[in-house]
Symmetry: D2
Subunit: 345 residues, 4 copies
């Protein structure tokens, strides 16, 4: 049994993490924190946890003590706040899995440009926390910068094509759609029920912060600089992301060559389900699970490949991915606590 | 390890059963059947099961063979069809858990009157499958008539009041609301997405078939004949039932007496969460789980008690209840495979 | 052409009022106000009004000036605020239609008890603004206290039964369900999209403020004191109310006697559509319109009548009703601007 | 007053047409037809029309008689069926507005290739029914092939850019999202409520039949052959389309040049609302109305323009457009019956 703590347990990702950890036979949750609800029981904030978690929320003022009492510390805070925690835990044995953006970028200038925040922990020993691509690096990492939700869906869809140089570098467009839980639990007019219900919209066109994250990994995989367009949309539903990814095929690339690279890269991946060419992932087919379902289409008329991928934004896009990273880092079976049937219908 | 089979695996209850059984360490699924999809793989019909269940649907023509190869047989067929299966398995050791109505009634004339079907297995050795009330009988039963979805929510809400004679017998009104999955997977205009979305309606007023089921159990508990009004409504959501139950308090019954009987009856029940007086269950707080959340309100102005209960219609209202009954009947820990955190949000 | 102003134009009822008034050939909107958004254009707050309303929100500090410039003043403020406006306009010719609760009660002590606010305009010359019942009084009224949303659905369902003494006075239970727009436009956790979506719950059991309003009118109609139970629920949809109303029939009352009183009372009502016995109103059948659809069921087993009624909470439950009252008070055809086909699907 | 008939009145587009025509002061609905429901009253099929339309559905067997009795005939049949009607009405004065695809294509070979149906009325005197682009041709047309829903949103978004040659011809990608009413009223598993609710998916990637329609008009506007990628998605809501359109800017094209062409083309259009650069249309802002809201974004990092457009698929994408075409063809004010405030929230 190892001990883990969750810093920022009252957001949707934090609560999902608690749900998953409840199933984990090797993990004990030692501390959970919330600055706005310190002293309250987590089940007051999340009544679905009544009778399951009977824990009091602490403050992260005592982060060193919490860190000393933990083998792993999950951080589920808004960006800009994990760096402080990371620095304070630098010299403790506790390892860190950050669900936010602070530790995702190799180049902290890119982070600073897109997030408008000074990076204060530039030399942190960190790896990008997307198991299917950086599994080996994750094993020993001190700090794991857990991949973002849109990012996970987008990268997993495009990685085989970028890695094997089948597509034109700067032709990539990712048109992504997310359920509303991705926007967090703070009420605001934009997420007020009557405003969003029976409604659909785009947001942050050309400026969403997951853009450079996708570019970083695709560039890394293919070895050549890649710029993309990424457009997020809000779907009137709670959970789930579908990414529709477009790219121009390089000359002479056939549908069969596309068909080949997906199983080549993901053939042994537990959490990637390849539906094949001309199939259609649906967000509900992965809801509540750690799966990423992927399918692809080749349009010979226009010379493009269209890749579709679906994840649950709170699981494979956040808490599930974090536990997958924990399992790798701690040496557990990678699917421990994650072998869950999606909830349908 | 025991072997179980699922007759009628392609409805929503059948698919939910497979999801739950996947988590059950003591159970192997031996056979699954579907008459309309015989020969197909279950994951063709339910793509969320890809990579999880790789089983071919058989026909129930071979039910004796299936029965001989099973310790327990779950039946998830429309009412009227389980009796045939029950009779064919009569002399085999396999025990039966029927998710339909055929084996729920002590008095088969009531069944025949409400279902317009002749009961052809009147002497079947059966018990009503609601663990919190008939646990002892379930232990040894040959045939368990799993309680219905609306029924479970309604009975659990009212049982302590009926049992302890705190309410006027014929004053009970149950106004219940269900997600659409309760109506099954067969497409029809009434459940066509654009018709139901952003819409709310009642149906089967004064004639819903769960009415006599609720009356049977409340009458049994209190020892006096009880007639109720039961009104179901369709909520534009997938899962969940909320029952709002009204009854006139007998003279001299105080709120504190109400407060006392709920923990008295359910204090040790794993799957009943008592939220207490003046609280509010929400269907999402139990979604995907086997919990029944209950709260109550006493209106001194009108002399009524209002009890609210919430369940997931496919879990505690169907497949979860069935596995709970299996656990009791097979001698497993009652919460095996059912210790699941509700999916929120 | 008459001139009207809308005090509190930025709530959902205020915005709906503007939508309806846009269709009114006899009305010019002179002033619209908002304290939180004074100086802004209404289309900044409601982009669906772009190109339709190009008006600046004023402050109600100048209410006397606004009143002097208006034939009718609609007030769409939270309760407790209309009384101030009412008093300030007391000596002006402008007539008032208040969409809130301040002017709905004959007995201001009841208002004070349920709203926890002192009533400061007890002698206001006011009528209850439900046209189908108080049409004659509305014609000449200085102040019209527009009926509430739940109230309208409940009263219209039960009025013929109460008026003709067909039901036991204190047996009435109204179990009502509303879309979320009824809760207003202010974001809060309870109405945050991910919390409500795929969720259903009751609220304010035994304490909702529409209870005494329903009691007042039913008591008035039948001439005997009536107490009821009223339970509101939140449906995960934007608009619409369905009220399920239960009452015990008096001895010897037949289904045919029930059938007779509805057309007797509502036979000439433009906005009440009687679907008849054993029918089912759906909220979507009236969405966006001023209709109230009503059907009833008689349960001979239990001796109860169940009446179902459906309205759009923002139209017949608020802004449409207000315009209907305006039409009556100003001497226009009662359906002016309200002859709208419900939006389906 | 002119007389119009609706062939195929029981689909969603037909019913919407009836709703709009109810508001039209110059139009009398003479005949409505349905082959599956001949002899029934339309309000049996659409209870929201009770008390509004009291008309019996006829058969189109008598189409010549219906045509002789009509100034305009709207056809709302599945593709392949309007051609028969069109030929039978060829020598009658009645003019035709077809809401399907049969008369949309200049090149019937393209129709035949994408629809797998022989075109049997190749020489029909027809125009493409998108008023903002072909208004003059519509005025005198015998047959108007009303533009499709996805097509309308896509073409209106891209037309100014194609016409003024600001974008690379073959770089266009339209990623479109539609509410479920676009799929029609026939129940099937894919549109069964529990399957779609809380779910999101793409369909018909690279093969949707609106693709060549968009290409035809953009090619016509720019004078050079254009091929596009068009991807439709299903949003779990009833109504509304959002199109997210991507194109590579030609060299030297600035954001200001983009800003200029939209008002240049649409400055006088009643039903196009330009939100400007960096704005965000939402489907709910146009719900129930004939508006098309458009905004655009320029990504200098990647050299692309992203145009967003929103319509109500049943109004501007079908029935509203048809009435707009009627108004033009009959010489009425173009906005007659269409000056409707969108329904919000």
């Amino acid at each position: 049994m190892i001990k883990v703590s969750v810093i920022g347990a009252t957001g949707y990702a934090g609560a999902e993490l608690l749900s998953i950890l409840h199933r984990h036979p090797e993990v004990e949750v030692a501390h959970i924190t919330s600055e706005s609800s310190t002293g309250k029981n987590i089940s007051e904030l999340y009544p679905h946890l009544r009778g399951i978690y009977d824990m009091t929320l602490e403050s992260l003022e005592d982060i060193e003590k919490i860190g000393a009492d933990s083998d792993f510390v999950f951080i589920a805070l808004p960006h800009g706040h994990a760096m402080d925690v990371g620095k304070k835990l630098e010299n403790l044995p506790a390892r860190i899995i950050d669900l936010g953006a602070d530790y995702r970028f190799n180049d902290t200038e890119i982070y600073e440009a897109w997030y408008n925040v000074e990076h204060t922990h530039k030399d942190a020993p960190r790896v990008y926390g997307l198991a299917e691509i950086y599994r080996d690096e994750i094993r020993k990492a001190k700090i794991i910068g857990n991949a973002g939700c849109f990012t996970t869906a987008s990268i997993l869809a495009l990685a085989p094509l970028a890695k094997h140089h089948l597509i034109e570098n700067n032709s990539i467009i990712v048109d992504a759609k997310s359920g509303v839980s991705g926007a967090g639990r703070s009420p605001k007019l934009g997420n007020h029920f009557p405003e969003l219900y029976d409604n659909f919209k785009a947001y942050n066109v050309a400026h969403h912060r997951h853009t450079p994250e996708i570019e970083q990994v695709l560039t890394d995989l293919g070895g050549e600089k890649i710029l993309i367009n990424f457009t997020p949309h809000l779907v009137p539903m709670s959970r789930g992301i579908l990414a529709t990814c477009y790219a121009n095929l390089k000359p002479e690339i056939s549908a069969e060559m596309i068909d080949a690279v997906f199983p080549k890269m993901y053939g042994n991946e537990k959490f990637i389900r390849l539906l094949g060419r001309n199939a259609y992932p649906e967000t509900k087919f992965v809801r509540g699970s750690n799966y990423c379902d992927i399918a692809w289409h080749v349009d010979e008329r226009t010379g493009r490949v269209i890749v579709l991928s679906a994840i649950d934004n709170l699981v494979k896009g956040a808490a599930g991915q974090a536990v997958q990273n924990l399992n790798i880092a701690a040496g557990f079976d990678e699917s421990t606590a994650l072998d869950v049937v999606p909830m349908y219908p």
